[in-house]
Structure formats: structure tokens, C-alpha cells
Symmetry: C2
Subunit: 366 residues, 2 copies
Amino acid sequence: MNSRIQQLRELMDKENLDAVLISSLSNITYLSSFSGFTTEDRDAYLFITKKNQYIFTHPIYNEVAQKDFSDFTLVEYRRNNPFNQAVKGIIEKEKITSVGFEAFDLTVNDYNVLTQKVNKKLFQPVNIINKLRVIKSSEEIQKIKDACKLGDKTFSYILNKLRINVTEKELATEIEFFIKRNNADISFEPVVAFGPNASQPHHIPDETKLKKNCFVLFDFGVKLNNYCSDMTRTIFFGKPTKEQEKLYYAVLNAQKASVDYLKNKLSLKQSVHAPTIDQVGRNYLTACGYSPFNHSSHGIGLNVHESPHLYPSSTDYMKSGMVFSIEPGTYSAEEYGIRIEDIYAIEDSKLVQLTKAPKKFTEISL
Amino acid sequence: MNSRIQQLRELMDKENLDAVLISSLSNITYLSSFSGFTTEDRDAYLFITKKNQYIFTHPIYNEVAQKDFSDFTLVEYRRNNPFNQAVKGIIEKEKITSVGFEAFDLTVNDYNVLTQKVNKKLFQPVNIINKLRVIKSSEEIQKIKDACKLGDKTFSYILNKLRINVTEKELATEIEFFIKRNNADISFEPVVAFGPNASQPHHIPDETKLKKNCFVLFDFGVKLNNYCSDMTRTIFFGKPTKEQEKLYYAVLNAQKASVDYLKNKLSLKQSVHAPTIDQVGRNYLTACGYSPFNHSSHGIGLNVHESPHLYPSSTDYMKSGMVFSIEPGTYSAEEYGIRIEDIYAIEDSKLVQLTKAPKKFTEISL
């Protein structure tokens, strides 16, 4: 933990920042390993200066602060005694002239409260911790591997639960309970979509009953030791037509095209602009006569969506230590949705696949 | 649904607003009944003008938008084509001169993106929908009653699961699964705390095993049809001492003192400043020689914490249609934590208790 704060301080030095105010929950977790603050309310801030680190939190977290933030100085923070007074005091005491803050997370209200007491000119938006998080250590990659492994187990478990008339919601609940019985959490609400329901990439599982001869799409993730997995598999319940089989393999080959492209670039030590990975898959699907997906692959770690960004406007380049999904799909409104998603890491310039559930077209016989 | 947008327009008129930009998930749900957007990413905005209503959302939600936002005009919103251009277009077309935005929710980044295209002076922070939400309709109160009823059932279910060596985590998982098997969701992560663990009001259930002769605190809530419940019960596993029984009844009587105070004020048609409700309970505990709680009771509805605010600095006054908790507690570090929480509504100037699980000191015999 302290080594991360040390790394952060080195970056602060490079970027001429005397201090950083951390408000986002995942960055608080990154710097402390503590993940118990809620998303409902603003429970805590970290304030890292060149020499000291502070946690501002509500007195109901006093014991947590003493246990999980033992090397932080605790500053009590209440609704009627907001943290801006404390920030002002530290800024004056430590002669701080520049403070980074997380503009992607801090609300306009919080910012206004802060700048009531402290000159606006001191503050600048930063995404500095992102620069550390985007490159994972081998310990972090191992944690993502562990989460992916439980994801694979979950997939083989849920395949055994398919039967005529089971609902999407029932299967989604089974996925969630299986993960939680294994002492992990879900990294997002599981998606289970039968047939045409899968044409919405973010379909919410409903009371639709499983009937024979349709695609079934599963998209779910595990959160284990704070790190996320994410995977999508599309299988067929019943006997597919030739055209359905062709559709499936078009998506699988689109994924293979993206993976081969990336592997090849890495082996040639050529730089890879992140959005080109999905573009290779989209081009493949278009060439096959299918509509390309309008969603994007994404980095993963403490958050299920994080850097590197692979969406079209991203300026990221792929590097060793990055962990991310590759997830092509093809959709036709009111007809079908097929998507295949795996998690990959670049370790020592080599592409490693972390999710390992089988991808050969799976037909579940009735 | 349309009636809520109508009410919002009446308020906009009173406050001289030509438009309101809605970003918070619960307000999007309030105006549409749709609750499927994620907290991970910013999936959607609503933009309500005097005559029109718009939804800005990513193309992956096109089908959702057509189904659940059928009376909204859909504007596609992508990372590389942000919504500020669309907002600018509507502002010019409809000759809008003042726009309310949710400063408590909108991030500094989103605000900066927005005001790149549109003059900052047009925007003003508002919490306008809060003024509607704080007064619940009888349909909304009914939904909260339904959630509370499932909470009561959950409590009687979990009491039967207490046994020597069961862990806090196992019981918390049982609570969650019971609620989910009943087609509802949890409104927050359940708290289960044995003995001294309860001295932290937000204790995270861990591997602590249940031993005989200790307090057990349960704090959990249900989310059903988008509306939340919340309740806390503290029971005793084994045989309490006289002092332990005295402690319990001090907290129960503190709650009774708050309730009686509020009932009396309502029957006399006197106004009630919200923070005085907890203060009566705190004073009671102090008079008994126990330390008063440093957390606060809270309003509840689509969010588990919402208006009216009962914390010390709140300026709210109690009114018919408000729904809220009353939850005194007393804590002693490394010794114990006792809290009792129920949900109440003011209906036609009368206080009605919505959670109904028994509060007589419960001793679970071994």
C-alpha cells in the first residue's frame, strides 16, 4: 500500500502537484485496500500531500479509519463541518500551491464547497492515479486471474441449469448466488438474454421463459479481493440452423481476428492504438455481411470498466501490464444478439487469455 | 408518469426555469419508472423543457428508450459526440434562457463539457425534483409499505438461522438471498454484527462466529418496485444480564420518546423541525447515562437516504407525505452497539409505522 502512495508522490512531483484530493471509491481502495465505503453517500476523501496523508471521514467510520487507514491522519468530517476547512488548514500549514482533484468524480456541489474556502486557482483536474492503475502489477493480474477462474466455474455451473421454461431472471439469480456462495461478489448485474432479447446489449433479465431452439447470452462478472472479471458466452439451446452456426462463428472469428492482430503487433514490437483492436473485429463482421457492434471493449481492474479505453475516440496505446476485454458482437433488432467476451492481459509483451471457458459453439440438447 | 413531468413543469415555472437537466439515476427513475441504467458509467440524461422532454442515451439503450421512454425524444449520446452539442441545439431552438442542473450529482467534468458549448450563465444548480419526491403520494407510500413488509418477513426468517458458530457473513448472505428469492433487491449491503462488532454502526459482516450470550444487530433493507425499506433490530443470543436488558430498553425507550414527541406535535398541529426528532432520543439516552448516537435518522423512498433530512444541520420541517426512519442507538467501542430502526410515514397528519417486526427484547435460547 505505502508503495502505491510512494509511486503517486513520484508522479505528483513530475506533474508539479503539491497535493491530490482523492474522492473516487476505487482510487480510495487502490491506495488503501479498503472497499467498505458506500456509493450512496460521500463517506470519505483522501488527501495526499508531499509528506503526509490524510483521511477525511464521518465519525461512524472512526474504527475503520484506525484499522484500515492506520498510516493516515484521521480528520473527522461531518455534514455541518465540511472538509473544506480542514483542507484549507493543511494547505496553509504545508504551504501547498497546487492541488489535483478528480473532476471525473467530484460533483459540482463538492467542488463549490471546497472552493468556498480555498482559492479556485490552486485546483486542477487530474486523473493521476489512473496512470498507475492502467499498468497492473503481477499481484494485481493474479487477482484478476482468480476472479476470471471463478467466472469460468460459474459458466459451467449455469449451463447445467438450462431447462425449458426457466426464466432469464431465475438464471441471473443463480449466477449471482453461485458467485456469492463462493465468497465473491458480482462485478455488475448479470445479463441473461434469450433469443431476440439479446439484441439489446444491456438487456435486463426478465420473466421471459426459455424455449427450444434459441440463442442464450450470458454476460457476467466476478469481484474477488476487489478485482473484477467479465465474460460473455452465447450458446444455443436446442438444434441450430446452419445460418445460426455461421452467425456464431462469424463473431468468434471476429474475436480471433482482433486477438491475432494484437498478438502479431506485439510480436513485431509495433505500437497498437487501442481502438484498432475492436476495429479489426468490426471490419471482419462487416466483410461477412453482418452488422458490426456499436459497443466497445474495455480495460478492467478494480472497476469493471477502466483504462485502457478501447472506444473509438480513445488515445490509449497498448502496453505490458494492461488488462482488458475483447468482445465483438453482432445484433439484429427483434431477432438475435451474439457476443463473445474474454479478458486478456499483456504480460512481458505477450497476450495472455485470463478467462478460459470453452468457446466451441455449444449446443445444449433438450 | 406524465403527471410528474407536469408537476415538474409547474415548479420550473415558479422558479423561472426554462429547462432542467436531470442526471441523477433516482430522478431519472422518478420521472420514467425505468431503473436499469448503471451506476458504473453515465448512461443517460433527461432534459425537460417547457414543451418537450428529451432523453440523451447511448445507442446500446435504443430499444430501452423506445419502450420505457416512449414519450421522450431520443437523442443519441456517444463518448465522441457528447450531449453538449445536442443541449446547445435545443437551447437555441427553444430560446431557453435558464437551465437548472443537479450540482449534487453532475461531476465537474460533465459540467465542463456542458459549458464548453453553452454559456455558463444559463446554468443554475437546482434540487427541484427533491421538492416533489419529499412528499410521497399514497401509491408511493404503499410501495414503501410493501418493501417494509418483506423486510419484516426477512427478519423473522433470519431469526431462525441463528446458531452457534454461524458467521456474520453467512447470515448477511442469507438475508440477501431471501430478499432476492422474493423477487426484490437489497436497498444496501446488509449489516450483521455480533457483540462488540456492532460498536461500528456500519460494520461490514465478516468471519466472526456467533458465540453464546451476545447482542446481534441486523440492519438491512429491501428494494421493491424501485422503493426502499430499511430496518434495524438488535436481539440477544443467549441469556442477557440485567444491565444488558437495561441497555436495550434504554434504546427502545429513546425511540419511543422520539415517536411520542412527534405524535404529540402532529396532534397539536405544531411544526416540527426535523432534527429535533433525533435530539429527543439523544437526550433520553444521555439522561439514562448512555452515550447518544452520532448518526442520524433519514428520509427514504427511491433512495435509502433522501429528504427529509433529520441530521443536526437540516432545515427541513416535517409534513404529511414524508417517509423516514427513526433510529436511535448507543455504542461503546469494543463493547457493544445497540440500535433500533423503524420506518414511519406521516399520512393525513398522523404518524404511521411501516415496519412492524416485534421490538420486545428478543432472547434467542440456545
